[in-house]
Amino acid sequence: MATTSKNRCFAPGTGLTLLSFLALLGLWSALAYTGSVKELFLPKPHKVLTAFVQMYEEGILLTYSWDSIYRVMVGWAMAVVVAVPLGMFIATSRRCAAVFGPLMEFARYLPVVALVPLTLLYFGIGDLQKFMVIFLGTFFQLVLMVADSTARVPKDLSRAAATLGASRAQTYRLVLVPGALPGIMDDLRITIGWAWTYLVVAELVAANSGLGYMILRAQRFLAIDRIFAGLIIIGLLGLGTDFLFKWLTRITVPWSEKA
């Protein structure tokens, strides 16, 4: 038994995963082809496929996807670059926690959607505004999540390092950073998912390219097949990102119990 499971080239459960997607497709087909749901509300699967092909031929499928990916990456990266160090400092310095902690807690309860009009006013409708919406949507939470992941590094590890002669700076670099890394990788994976959500929100409100914009325009023309195509792309990109991060986690922290 052990040898067969070792020789398998897919992770256990891959079959079940596939099955769940097929079941969803089956349900969709059943509802659409039997006409139980009006075509105005639920497109037939093959129509969605045609929509994909059309959009590809129009040249918008790839450019819009890329525009969205680009906005997510930049907006999210801006948040990460500031949030990770700040979160670590909050977790390790009482003064830093006093200055920034409550501020972050306050800010994270502001619904980002309510801030969208402001971002339009300040930054216009270009890419910068998209970056800002994503930044506002992920930054404050990420700071707190990173602080939490850092605080979860067992105190005794730092204490052991100190008794082995490590200075505070060395303890930070050699213990806290690697120790917090598995948690931070998780935080990154979760927040990039949110980044997608906020991007689509931003693009639905004001944009002239991107997947959100594509969906909005399709809705104006009642092109339900294109709406579905857009949703499927967003879902697949999200799934891909998640896989990428799980893989990255295995690469960067192979020692973690999670890897």
């Binding site: 067992p154 005794d156 050699l174």
Partner: protein, 253 residues
Amino acid sequence: MSKLSIQSLTKTFGSGDKTVTALENVTLEIDEGEFTVVVGPSGCGKSTLLNIVAGLELKSSGQAVLGGRRITGPGSDRGMVFQSYTLFPWLTVRENVEFGLRIKKMPKTERAEIARKYLRLVGLAEFENALPKELSGGMKQRTAIARVLANSPDMLLMDEPFGALDAQTRLQLQDLLLDVWREEKATVLFITHDIDEAILLADTIHIMSNRPGRILESIHVDIQRPRDHRVTLTPEFAAIKGQIMDLLWNEMS
């Protein structure tokens, strides 16, 4: 002159009317090469005492002096083995053992050699490239001991290092520690609430009172060395055990 000298050490936690006095006027001396064990009821301040010696905790008053120098903070001259597993999970066994030497900027080949020597001493030579998550609890603590020894500290501090291990592994590690101690001529301050363990290991046992911890009595263990766990069957052992149990029973009632 003794190696470690603790003079009327007192430690109070907290402030205002919520203070807890963990240690009160603790005085003890440890000679070079001596194996000292502290036993006492749970919560009496044993870990606090050890943490102050390690420099991980600040004293409230009194003093702790190691080799003529006052202890003000943690340092590689005092190696500590914790009850919890404290190997760095992202480093291999050998890299863990090399940690202190890496901080001292010792060249790679040299520190690998030292690490291997101590891994051999604790019987883990074959596991140098394993990750901590692949080790049993006993192996983790062996590695922790090797890691501390590789740093050649003046003194070993051990806070119930075998407390989380099963009974058999604990016996093995006690015997191993006795071998290591003899070989390295280490000075050890060891904390436990296992009376058998205390008598097996110690030259001197200090028995602490309930909180606030004071030294109730200090007992010399004259059982012949080298020892291993078979000494637990001797009448001398039983006599000392009886004496300590009486003291602790009195303290608890």
